[in-house]
Structures are given as structure tokens and as C-alpha cells.
């Protein structure tokens, strides 16, 4: 069964624990700019949204990669993985990603992209509000769908 990283902006508090957890598990220190997840905060609107690689099925980063460094994982069907050894650092993947979720870090000469910590995402473990969830593909929209259904239910109850 494939698992999917789900983002719930409505639950995000903007605390950026996800960025700290990611940076720490990948690099051993706290450096948000190298985190593979970023929570953007709009203070005027009081909204924050976490952003990270969506592991697209038809991934532009994989399509444009000339060496096969960016590839769909054979072990985990839901993972777009990056092979450091095959990568020529052309940065095409960072240009192709429509979300800006692959970044090149000049200091380490690495492509920074979420790899779901190979199936155990640390950001999810540290998210205090449930804004990040790693769930089975069969269930990933259930909470959202049911919440909306509940609104309809309330509306129907009012008019019936």
C-alpha cells in the first residue's frame, strides 16, 4: 500500500517545527534554508501553508533529468528519488518543478528535495497540529472529504 504526504493548511499553526525536524534529520543541525519542507506564513491573513515535494506520478523533474538521477524509486512506488552519483548538477529539475519543491544548494552541491525520509517522514513526527500527515493513498482525502460532507449534512439538516 502506498503512503502519501498530505498537507492540511487549515491545521498549520506556522510554527515551522517541520523545517527544524527536516534540517536536523538531514544535516544534524537547525538550518531552515536547507529544509526540504517550508511553511510559509502570511501574517496579515493569519494563514500558513507547508510546501514540500508531492512525489508526482508524472514528475516534471524526472522528465527533464538528462541522466536519470531524478527517478521514480523502484523500492517505493510513491517516491521520486534523487541519485547523488548520477546527478550532473544541471539544476533542470529545480526549473521544471512547478511548485519550487526541488532546490539546489550550492554550499553542499546537493539537490534538496523531500524523500519522505524513505517512508518515515520526520516532519510529520514533529508537526504538533496534524497539518502534515503520512497516510495510505486509500485514506488520504477521507478526512477532508468527510469534513466537507459533514458541512453538507448540517446544511441539509437545517433545511429538512
Amino acid at each position: 500500500m502506498a503512503k502519501i504526504l498530505m498537507i492540511h493548511p487549515d491545521k498549520c499553526t506556522g510554527c515551522r517545527n517541520c523545517e527544524l525536524a527536516c534540517s536536523f534529520v538531514k544535516h544534524g543541525d537547525f538550518q531552515p534554508v536547507v529544509s526540504r519542507v517550508h511553511a510559509y506564513v502570511w501574517e496579515r491573513e493569519g494563514i500558513s501553508v507547508p510546501m514540500m515535494c508531492q512525489q508526482c506520478d508524472d514528475a516534471p523533474c524526472v522528465t527533464v533529468c538528462p541522466t536519470g538521477a531524478m527517478h521514480r524509486s523502484t523500492e517505493m512506488t510513491n517516491l521520486v528519488d534523487w541519485d547523488e552519483r548520477l546527478c550532473i548538477r544541471c539544476k533542470m529539475c529545480t526549473m521544471a518543478c512547478p511548485f519550487g519543491n526541488a532546490r539546489y544548494d550550492a554550499a553542499s552541491a546537493m539537490i534538496l528535495k523531500c524523500d519522505t525520509c524513505q517512508g518515515e517522514p520526520e516532519c510529520v513526527a514533529f508537526c504538533p497540529s496534524g497539518a502534515l500527515e503520512f497516510v495510505d493513498d486509500t485514506e488520504h482525502v477521507r478526512a477532508r472529504k468527510k469534513a466537507y460532507a459533514a458541512k453538507l449534512k448540517d446544511a441539509f439538516q437545517e433545511v429538512s
Binding site: D10, T13, G14, C15, R16, N17, L20, A21, S23, F24, H27, G28, D29, F30, Q31, P32, V33, V34, Y40, V41, E43, R44, E45, G46, S48, F126, P128, S129
Partner: protein, 617 residues
């Protein structure tokens, strides 16, 4: 260094010179950071007799060694200076993301010196530091300032700034960051305004490193689990915010009402956290690395008070609510928004309006003085209008922005100012809660609840439980809370994390982060050192034991109604024992033995380290 970045940034606005110096490892070990480190710098470098608004005063933005890590809710910083409200060693604590960003830029602290000859703002991007013209943002509110400075620098910059109140040097002016978080108290915004410094914008790309990554993560997970399992830290604060305290304090009869003429407000429920959650809450919000999320994103739909923003906190709801006799939460929240936009401290502004209302009702002042505003208790519209006028510095509002001590004294009634050391007391009545009164009286920055939050034990039964109405055991309780909080603030942690963890867990995280082994005793001793440092400053300013007291009303006028009816404060009975336990003489002066034990000098001197690297701005 680990935990600390090891570098302090110093900007002289008079000369435009920018320098960097190494953080002294011994000072860091002994004072941690934030409130402690900032206080050390100010005490070492500023003459206690200096006019707070003079160029010789310094303004320090200081972070703690835990700031920028994922220690739970430990992303805080302090603005430290000689406070414009009352000359104390002001250390105003704030959350948001400004402190962590300063650390990612590479700095434990930013020390601002001198005075620019015209309005400027600082733009810090890692090693690049610029002093920029602030002509285009001078006069703007804190939200517009934040947007405009970001447009000129970086859209993701973290911005700390003053509003129009700080520009006008109002003693109640604060420093706001990320629009809604406040270094609220003791007039730090006026000091910033006096330096012609409108804002500090920072972007950092660096890392905060910890000495023992595995040990640190283990300590953090333990602390997180304890906070998340706590009914207040793990659930209550997120659901209802700090404003949940309104009903709790009112049920105890210790919710100061109508400028402290009473301690019970019959319609308090209308301004409490439950009402807020039902009518105004959009969603909870967390500061950087926070797992508690007490912040309130709110909106007000009432056309008279329409707005969107954050707050109110408990203290704010009390100050504009019960203390002004107002039970209209929409009006209260609107006053909160206005304070955030103008850059005013909500506690002191609300309490000062309450003081003006009492002056008005007693006939000391009339509508002629108040620009026609009928400033009576319970008049919500008048309360909001007076908040706006205070922000604008318009007419009688300019007097409000001076604080209640200066206001009441100017009309010959200083006794109606509900202040300790000229700073307005917050929302817990010492007549019904004896320990908090001793904390107000001895607080090193004047009336303040977050210097020693004995409420946790006297009211909320957090960790331990004591009868709020007795004085026995309270001096010791106060000292424990004061020292714990001084160390906790200085580490960069949030006071609310103590709804779950204690000094034990804080010392564990601090040790793993810094590589310096802190036992609980070591941690508490750091707190005692910082407390005594602040005391020595106050003594040098000219405060004496006579200032360790409360407004006479709290001794002479018992609470009139409610569960605490008939009670008064007994601070005088507790003070000698407090001094004794502190290791101070009968005049409240630390003994030589105590200073030696803490490694403090009676007289402060210049102790700054030599600049490591200098660069012209």
C-alpha cells in the same frame, strides 16, 4: 560554540559603524542569552543614571542558546535596554520568528548604540548589514512598516519595528515583530524611537548547531511529550488561549475590576477565552518551534469594531475589559488591534485608560480634559476611542501614552495609578492572591506577572498547590519562580512550556544543546544571578526597598464584592523573609556573600570584549 552562534553584532547609529565580536563563553555560560546576556551587556556598558532616551542608552536584541532549535516553544528573544517607562533594566520578551532568524543570520545578539541623525532601519542578511533610510516608513503603523520594509529588502524578512507611538517616544511604546508579536513592556519602543530606529529586518541562511545531537533530540522528545500530555500546555491553551483565565480568576474573585476598585466582574464571561473561541477565533497560531499554539488569529465582524489580527491575550482582555468595566469583547479586541498597529503595550494602555476613567468619575478630570470623550467605566466606545487617541498621540491620548503614573500624578492623584515602580500591574489581584503581590512588589521591571508567575501554584495547581490567601511559604515560592523564569527567559524558552516541563527538562535540553553541563541547581543559580544583576541595576538607578511595594489601595481598600470580598494584600509581612531568603540585607541590598556566591560585582563596569572584526557600514 554550540547553542550559541558565538557572534554579537554591534551597530553604532551615530557613526554608522558596524562591528562583530565574539560572544564571551564565560558570560554565555553564566547568563545564557536573551534577558540575561542582554542585561549583562546593558549593565556593563550603560551608566544606570543615563537618560533612557539619550544616545548613550543601548538597545539589545538578544536570543537564547535554545532559540532556533526545535526545543519546544523555545524560539524567543528579549529586547533589553534601560526602559523608558520606569528606568529599570527592561527586558521585554517576544516570540514569533524574529529571534530565530537573527540566529540563523549568525548572531546571538544585536547591540544598537547611539542615535541616527534621521530615521533609519537596519537590514541584516547574514554577514551583510546595512543602515538604510526609513523616511518612507516613518509614521506608518507596524503592519504597513513590515510590508514596506519587506518590499525593500526580502519578502520573507523577519521584521521587528516600532509604530507611531515609539516614534513619538511614548513611554508605553513597544516593539512589534511579525506584525502581531510584542516585546510589550517597560517602554522599549520609546528607546528604539529615540535612536531614530524604525525597524530591524533580518534574513539568515546559517545553522544553529547543538553539542550532542542525539542527546538533544532525546531531551526535546521527552519535553514535548510532557507538554503535550499536560491539560493546559497540551490542550487548554490551544483551545482557548490565555484568555481562558478570565473566568478562572473571576471565580476566585481576583480579577481586578474598574481600576482595581473591586476584584470581581459579574459579566466577565463575555470577555473570556470561551467567548473568544465561540465568536472571534479563526485559528490558533504558534510562534517559531511552538507546540502549544496559544496565539489567537481573530476577526471582529461588528461594524463598529471591525478588524482582523491576533489577540487578545488574557492580560489584554482584562486591561481593556474588566479593568475598564467593559464586557464587550469586540471592543476589547479592537483596542488590542489598535495597540498592535500603533505599537503600544496593551496592559499598560488599558490600565492607564482605567485610571483615567476613575479620575473622570471622581470629577478630577472632565470631558474638557478628555477632548469631549465621556470616559466612564463600561463605556466601550470611549475606551476604544481613547486607545486610538493614545496611538495617535492626539489630545488627551498623548497623556494616556505616558502611562498611568505620569497621568495620575499630573492631576495630583498618583495613588490612583495602579503601578509598581511606575509600571502597570497585570490581571491578578494581590488582595486575593498573596504570592503574586510579593512578586509585583519585588519584580525588577515593576508590575509584571511574568517575572514570577506564582499563579501557576496559587491558582492553577500546576506541579504543586498552595492556598492563594495565605502568606506562609510565599517568599520562597516567589524566589523559585523568579529565578526559574529568569533562567528560562534567558535560555530562549517560553514561560508556557512550564505547563508540562520544569527546570529539570530545561536544564537537560540546555546541556545537550550547549555542551555545558547544567544541573537543576546550576540552572536555578543562573536565574538567581540574573535576578540579582537586575536588582543591582535598579539600586544603582536609585530604587530602594521603599519601592518594593504595591499601590496603597491594595492594603487599604478591601475587595468589595465576590468570593474575595474583604481581603487585602499583606506584602509587608512577606518582604523581610523574602529579603532574607534572597541573601539581601534589611534594605534589600544583596550581601557581599551573596554576590560572591553568584560571581557578581557590586558596581558594574565596562566589560565588553574587543571587536573581532570591523567593517564600515
Amino acid at each position: 560554540m554550540f547553542g550559541w552562534t558565538g557572534t554579537i553584532l554591534r551597530v553604532d547609529l551615530t557613526t554608522g559603524k558596524v562591528t562583530r565580536e565574539a560572544t564571551d563563553p564565560k558570560v554565555a555560560r553564566d547568563y545564557l542569552g536573551a534577558r540575561g546576556l542582554g542585561g549583562y551587556i546593558v549593565r556593563s556598558e550603560v551608566d544606570p543614571k543615563t537618560d533612557p532616551l539619550a544616545p548613550e542608552n543601548k538597545l539589545v536584541f538578544a536570543t537564547g542558546p535554545l532559540t532556533g532549535t526545535f526545543a519546544p516553544s523555545a524560539g524567543r528573544f528579549d529586547v533589553v535596554t534601560k526602559g523608558a517607562l520606569n528606568d529599570t533594566l527592561a527586558a521585554s520578551n517576544s516570540g514569533g520568528a524574529f529571534g530565530p532568524e537573527l540566529k540563523f543570520a549568525g548572531y546571538d545578539a544585536l547591540v544598537v548604540e547611539g542615535r541616527a541623525d534621521k530615521p533609519v532601519y537596519l537590514w541584516i542578511k547574514d554577514d551583510a548589514v546595512e543602515i538604510r533610510d526609513a523616511g518612507a516608513v516613518w509614521g506608518k503603523d507596524t503592519a504597513d512598516t513590515t510590508d514596506l520594509v519587506r518590499a525593500e529588502t526580502d519578502e520573507d524578512a523577519k521584521v521587528a519595528c516600532i509604530g507611531p507611538a515609539g516614534e513619538r517616544l511614548a513611554p508605553l511604546a513597544n516593539v512589534m515583530n511579525e506584525m502581531h508579536r510584542a516585546a510589550g513592556r517597560t517602554g522599549v519602543g520609546a528607546v528604539m524611537g529615540a535612536k531614530n530606529l524604525k525597524a530591524v529586518a533580518v534574513v539568515g541562511s546559517g545553522a544553529v548547531q547543538v553539542a550532542d545531537p542525539a542527546g538533544f533530540k532525546a531531551a526535546v522528545l521527552k519535553a514535548r511529550g510532557m507538554i503535550q500530555a499536560h491539560p493546559v500546555g497540551g490542550a487548554g491553551l490551544k483551545a482557548y488561549g490565555t484568555d481562558v483565565l478570565v473566568n478562572i480568576l473571576n471565580q476566585l474573585g481576583a480579577l481586578p475590576t474598574r481600576n482595581w476598585q473591586d476584584g470581581y466582574f459579574p459579566t466577565a464571561d463575555k470577555i473570556g477565552g470561551e467567548s473568544l473561541a465561540a465568536h472571534q477565533l479563526v485559528r490558533p497560531k504558534g510562534c517559531f518551534s511552538c507546540i502549544i499554539s496559544c496565539g489567537r488569529v481573530t476577526k471582529v465582524d461588528d461594524p463598529a469594531y471591525k478588524g482582523f489580527g491576533e489577540g487578545p491575550e488574557y492580560e489584554t482582555a482584562w486591561a481593556f475589559g474588566a479593568d475598564c468595566g467593559v464586557d464587550d469583547l469586540d471592543a476589547v479586541t479592537k483596542a488590542n488591534y489598535l495597540c498592535n498597529e500603533y505599537g503600544l503595550d496593551t496592559i499598560s494602555t488599558g490600565s492607564t485608560i482605567a485610571c483615567a476613567m476613575e479620575l473622570f468619575e471622581r470629577g478630577v478630570i472632565t470631558a474638557k480634559d478628555t477632548d469631549g470623550v465621556q470616559l466612564t467605566f463600561g463605556n466601550a466606545a470611549a475606551m476604544v476611542e481613547m486607545t486610538r487617541k493614545a496611538g495617535e498621540g492626539e489630545g488627551f491620548g498623548a497623556k494616556i501614552a505616558q502611562g498611568s503614573y505620569r497621568l495620575a500624578e499630573s492631576y495630583g492623584h498618583p495613588e490612583l495609578s495602579m503601578t509598581c515602580k511606575k509600571q502597570e500591574m497585570p490581571a491578578y489581584d494581590p488582595r486575593g492572591i498573596q504570592g503574586i503581590g510579593l512578586n509585583y512588589a519585588t519584580s525588577n521591571r515593576g508590575g509584571c506577572h511574568v517575572r514570577g508567575y506564582t499563579i501557576a501554584v496559587e491558582v492553577l495547581a500546576n506541579g504543586a498547590e498552595m492556598d492563594p490567601r495565605v502568606t506562609e511559604g510565599k517568599p520562597s515560592l516567589d524566589i523559585t519562580f523568579q529565578d526559574l523564569t529568569a533562567a528560562l527567559d534567558s535560555a530562549g524558552a517560553c514561560l508556557f512550556s512550564t505547563f508540562g516541563i520544569s527546570g529539570v527538562e530545561l536544564a537537560e535540553m540546555l546541556s545537550a544543546a550547549t555542551g555545558v553541563a547544567y544541573s537543576l541547581d546550576d540552572f536555578m543559580k543562573v536565574g538567581a544571578r540574573i535576578w540579582n544583576q537586575e536588582r543591582l541595576w535598579n539600586l544603582d538607578v536609585g530604587f530602594t526597598s521603599a519601592d518594593d511595594t504595591l499601590p496603597a489601595r491594595l492594603f487599604e481598600e478591601p475587595i468589595k464584592t465576590g468570593p474575595s470580598k474583604g481581603l487585602v494584600s499583606h506584602v509587608g509581612d512577606m518582604l523581610p523573609e523574602y529579603y532574607g531568603l534572597r541573601g539581601w540585607d534589611e534594605n534589600g541590598v544583596p550581601t557581599k556573600a551573596k554576590l560572591k556566591e553568584l560571581g557578581l560585582e557590586r558596581r558594574a563596569g565596562r566589560a565588553r570584549t574587543a571587536p573581532r572584526e570591523a567593517a564600515a557600514a
